[in-house]
Structure formats: structure tokens, C-alpha cells
Amino acid sequence: MSRVVDVLVVGAGPAGLAAAARLAAAGAGRVEVLERERTAGGVPRHCGHPGFGADHRGRPLDGPAFARRAVRAALRGGAVVRTGVSATGWAGPLTLDVTAPTGLERIRAHAVVLATGARERPRSARLVPGSRPAGVLTTGELQQTVRLFGPSGALRGRVGRRAVVVGGEPVTRHAVRTLRAAGVEVAAVVTELPRAATGFGAVPVLTRTVVAELLGRGRLTGVAVRGRDGRTSVLRCDTVVFTGDWIPDHELARARGLAPAPGTRGPVTDGAHRTVEPGVFAVGNLLHGVEPAPVAAAEGRAVAAAVLDLLAGLPAHATGVPVVTAGPVRWVTPGLLGPAAVPLLVRPDRRLVRPVLTVAQEGVPLRRERLRGELVPWRSVRLGPEWTSGVDPAGGPVVIGAEECPETA
């Protein structure tokens, strides 16, 4: 079956739903959201903790509440949200092959918004050596297990009794809390970082420590860890949760030839979220693993303007000068800068105290400014459009760098 829609959004997480809500409400025509999971809402569905903004009375929202509101907003705007529907590949420009229980479809759209999100790297992608026992998972799998089987005894039987959690970011904290709420003892948090995020309570946090080997046949019996002194010790546990280390789920983008950017591993876009493929846009954590749901949703809303321009017949693919990183900067988005000044999202590689951020083009400094406070590797800093106002759209690559303040050494 072949159909044509105005806008096809792939992924019903915060970014995709926000894009669909805004576009449908703005009269973009038929706006259809495809979600491969059985319910819409994306990752926040599994995150039973605050940190997802607030409702109109200022009460903090947890993940599931945020997800419900996002779905409601998209539906209220007039978007069609289809769940259990998988976009499996491209049949041609702006045309996706889709598998659903109702059959196969080929959907052509005037604009495609990719909002496929990100995943945590599993143990294998992190090249952690050792055996391949049961009891090795990511935060995502842990949280979905809680959602499916309930938080108490059922989970304990299915997850384990004593866990080691790998990572030192806020998501690590959520994994620890999820485990503890389920009655699973957390033996330790293990992180390569010299300083971890806070909020782990009484759980010992081993910094500058790597997982050297997984042990156990059948079921995990422990993890060997190597500390900063180079010595290896074994932490007994039957469960290990690998947290963070996100990578965009960029399969559809790459299948259309959109190469992943070196820093983010997401497709390159301009400041309006246009990719280099005409009519194809990308938003949310597909661009950068990962930002909080409200940030992803804001990107979803922001794409609407460029999509509406496209539907009105204006040029539809990204152009501009590339934006690259230097020094202790892991990534920057957008990857292309057009004539209009736009904000940048910059992620440091490591903790930086009162760093000086720099923007330069062809060796010429455009802006140089000391930031207050500190940057941490699990949080981005947003640089306002004034940072890119002097960029020459016909010039060479724009380099975003950071210099550390000497007193932090």
C-alpha cells in the first residue's frame, strides 16, 4: 500500500511529538508520527523521577507524566500518532517502507522529521572483556523491566540481588535508585571519571576505575575492576548495569546516506534542523546523545518553522560552513552554520572549571569568553546566537574550543 502525507515524523519521543504537535497545530496538513514501540512517549515513559519540567501550576513532572502530556499535545494539535509501526528503510527520496501488524506500507511525505533518539552502548560496544553471562544490562533495559514487571519482588527475581552500576552521570543515579527501590543491593558505582555526579547516597563510588572483566558462567558472579593504582579487584555481584555512553539511534539517517558527525555520531544539520538531504530534518537525541527531554522537545518545536518553509516551497536542505570542535570539547550542534546566527549546544569532554570558550574561523577568533562555574561532561552548555553572529557563511570551518583556567590544574 502506498500513501502520501504532508509530514512524516519517525519516533514518538519528546522531540518527535513536540514537532508533530507544533506542525499539526500550524496547519501543516496530515502530520503522521510513526512509533515502533507499543506506546508513544519515548524514553521518559520509563523514568519515574522528576526532572521533566513542570506543569502550568509549577508542579514538577516525572517522565511518564511528561510523556502523557507530549502525546496529548500532539493529538490535540491534530497529528496522527501510530504505535507498533516500524519504519524499516527508505524506498526512495522522502519515502519510507513501513511494517505494521496491519501490513506493509510505503509512505511518501513532503517532509520527513527523524526523531529516532539514542541508546546506551551495551557492554559489547564498550569492548568490556570477559564471559557472556546473564545479568548484564543497560539503564534502558532495567527501567523497561521495571515498567513491565513492576518495581518490587517481581523485578528482584528478574534482575538480581546485588548489582554494580557502571557510569558516573545523572543517568547512573537513576539506575541506582531504580535498583534500590526494587530491593536490589548496589555494591558500587564504577566510573572512569575523576569525579562523578552526586546523589549516590551511601553507595560507594569508585572513580578513575574501569571494568576490566565480567566473570561468571550462566549467571554473572562478579566484575573485575581496575582502579587508578592499576590494581585489579573483584566486586561480587549478580547484575551489572552499564549506564550512559549514549549513541544516537541513527540507523534510518545513515540508511539515507546521512553520515554521522564525528563528535555526536548523529546526522549533521543546520541551525534549523535541516539535514543535507532535501526535505529530511533531524531533531532530539538523534542529534546528540543525550539531552534532557525538555531540550529534545524544544528542538522538536524549533524544527516546525523550517518544515513549514519547505511546505511553502522554500529551499529545504542544509547548507553552510561546518562547525567542528577543538580541545576538550566532545561535540557541538548544529554541525552547519548558515547565514542566520543560531545558538550552539556544546558538550565538554571532561570537567572544566571556569573555562574560556572560543569561536574561531580560519584561525581568526570571533569570540572568546570565560564561563562562570564549571562544565561537566554529562551536561551541555548553550551558547546564544551572539556567539556565531560574526561567522562568514562563505568562509572555512568554524572551530569551537575550550581552554581551561590554569588554577584548576
Binding site: T88, P101, S124, P129, A134
Partner: protein, 472 residues
Amino acid sequence: MSVTRSGPLPTGREAEYDVVVVGAGVVGCAIARALARHPLRVALVEAANDVGDGTSKANTAILHTGFDAAPGTLEARLVREGHRLLGAFAGEAGIPVEPLGALLVAWDEQQLATLPRLVEKAERNGHHTTRMLSADELRSREPHLGPGALAALAVPGESVVCPWTTTLAYATQAVRSGVDLHLGCRVEKVRTGDPWHRLVTRRGELRTRHLVNACGLHADAFDALLDRRDFTVTPRRGQLLVFDKFARDLVRHILLPVPGPLGKGVLVSPTVYGNVMLGPTAEDLDDKTATGTTAEGLADLREQGGRILPALLDEEVTAVYAGLRAATGQEDYRCAAHPSLRYVTVGGIRSTGLTASLALAEHVLGLLADCGLEPGPERPLAPVRMPNLGEAFPRPYRDAELIATDPEFGSIVCHCERVTRGEIRDAYASTIPPAGPDGLRRRTRARGGRCQGHFCGAELRALSEEYGRGAR
């Protein structure tokens, strides 16, 4: 025909067999299947809780032509015959095979000098289609190859195959044709006798007139139960890296190393699942259960792989594993009939066991006849058609007709590998259902992809509990 996994074994006449095959790897399953063509009572007995749970599940998944086997050996003959037999059976049974052909790439003068000797060896093994490729021809066939390749030997016919489906197809056909499969049933003692040998397991005793040792890595230990000490099996570990499907476009052939004084080298090969495999290491160990990977092993593989196919290292790693090959210090199989014991040992089946399996089975039937087995007339085996796990063949999620008749095939659960609810349900309803998530992966690919369960792990567990009555 029955499949048991736990509880007491049958007793009385039910526990009496004409032949018991011990070891349900690819070789044992092939032997059981060959025996099932005859009016015999046959049991296939396995210590693990699934078929193909040892060497057969963790190998390089190549259907060899045998061009480089030691000419004149049993292995050379059985690999050549097995290649033909398995190629034909794969078509019937729905086992994915892709005849990509191999390229042996020479990276230095010494390797270059070795290639003509390999051509000659191939000729002696009956393979007359090998061809030398110049550096330019090689580059046009494999544009992503690293710098420095001097030439290559092309070996048509070398193929990639699904080792999981192969083993399962043999076992399924055997069981459907009347063989009893007892899993989770380690043989701890053998009390030899006439006319019955008694096999003591923790789940009870089996009696058999004839006995086949297809214990792979443990073939020497099983021989010892019958006081035979003809060889020792040394586990040779092979660590392997499986790269993301995005790496698949980087390589068109099986890239084999040219053997040399510095070791065998590693191969880079597409898999039938659409990934690219890099490995194996070759480490002689003492521990027959040491299937763990090591930091050194993985770093070494990445270094070698990066020279062969530099862009490979930019791709994500989907899976990391290690398998153990059964080395016996002899460049051939160790197959022997022991007529006085009515016992056949099938040992030292090294990395070519998957390819040779069907020919080995025929060979073992001959050895059993030497031990006095009269198999009786042949009859056709029950037909078998396995679910397709290969990317090169139609899969349920793209099958409009199938989805129209059964919408469960339109409901994708494992998104990375595009495995549907219908396939998971069918795996649990199959002749030999999975015993846990690993078994489910080998039957469907579920959870075998780049996310390794990040997205689908919880739901797969729920489905496994629903369809498999709490199997975990």
C-alpha cells in the same frame, strides 16, 4: 520422538536404544539425523540445555571448500563432500548460505610467494577454479581494503552460513524422524557390556547397543569413560568481534589470511545476518570452559582488522565472543571405530566441523557398520523448513502475505534485527524450543543486534515467559 530437558529419563524399553549419540553439537546432530533414516531406536544426549551450545555456536560461520586442507586426509575428503552436501541441504531446509567467495590477501612478499603454493594445494584437493588477482583487480573488488595489499588468490565457492540454523535443522529433522533428544543430560559413567552399554546420567540410565562419541572438546574425556586414551583435546580459543550492519558495505568477500610463519592471521568476513566478523584469535588453553574474551585479544584483533579494513574500526561493535576449537595436535580428524566396544569416536573435529558435518555423519554410519550395526532399509526423513535468519533471503517483517494471514509477523519486537512477535512465538512452539534468551537469539536473532536488549530486552523477557512458561 521426544525432547526432554529435565526430570527422570524414561525407563524400561523406552530407555533402550540401538544407538546413542553423545554430544548435540553440529556433528552429533548430523549423525543422529543420518541414523534417523533407518528403522533404529536412536537417542541424542547432550549435557547442555540446548543443541549447538558449545563450539557449534561460536565459530567463524564459514562453509569451506576445503581448498587448503592437507591433501589426502580424511578432513580434506569430508570437507569437500560436506561442502556439497550442506550446500544442497541448506537450500531444502532454509538454512541461509551466501556464496561470496574468498580472497586470500597477500600483504607482504612472503605471503605473495605463498599464494602459488596454495593454488597448487587447491588443485591437489580438486579445486580448479582459484584465480590470482593483481593489486588493481583486488582493489576494484574490495575498494575499502587498507593500503599495502600486493595481490590475492580468489577462491570461489567459499560461503558464509548460519551455524545456528544448521545445527538446529539437523536436530529438528532427527527428532521429527523419531530420534529422542535428551538435553541437560551429562553422561557421567559408561558401564560397557554386551549386548547393552549402560550410560549413567544424573537423570537416570540409558541402555544402548552402539555408542557414538561426538563430544567435541570433551571427546578425550568421554573416551576415557570407556578406557580409551588415544588423544588429548586442547581447547584453542578464538575470540571474535562482530561489527554493526553499517560495516557490511565495506566488504564483499570473505577475506582470509594467508597462512605464514607468523601465525594464521585473522579473517574479515560478512555474516549471513548482515554484519561483519573479525577474528579469530588462536590461543591454546587448558580450560575447556574458558570462553571469555580478553582485553589483549580484542585489542590485537582491532589492530589486525584495522590494517585489513581501516574503516571497520569506525563502526560500532555489536557483539564480542569467544569459541573453543578442539585441537588434538594432529592435522586431521580423529575418527575411529572400536568394534569390540561397539563404539565410534568422532574426535578432533577442528574448525571445519560445520562444513564437514553431513559427510562426517555418512562416514560415521560406515564406522558403525564396522562395529556391527545393521541399520536396515533407508526411509525418507521428515521434511524440515527452518525459519530464515539470513539477510539475503526474505524475512517475515517484509512479507506482506504472511503479515496478512498473521498480523503477529507485522509486529517487530527486536528492532535492531527486525524480529517479530510471530517468530518468537513460533520459536517457542517449535520442535526444539529455546531454553533461554541465548537459545532464542540463535533461533530468531532476537536481542542479537546493536542494542543488545537496551530497547527490547524487557519485552522479550515478557514474551519468553508468556510463550515459554517461564523459561529463562
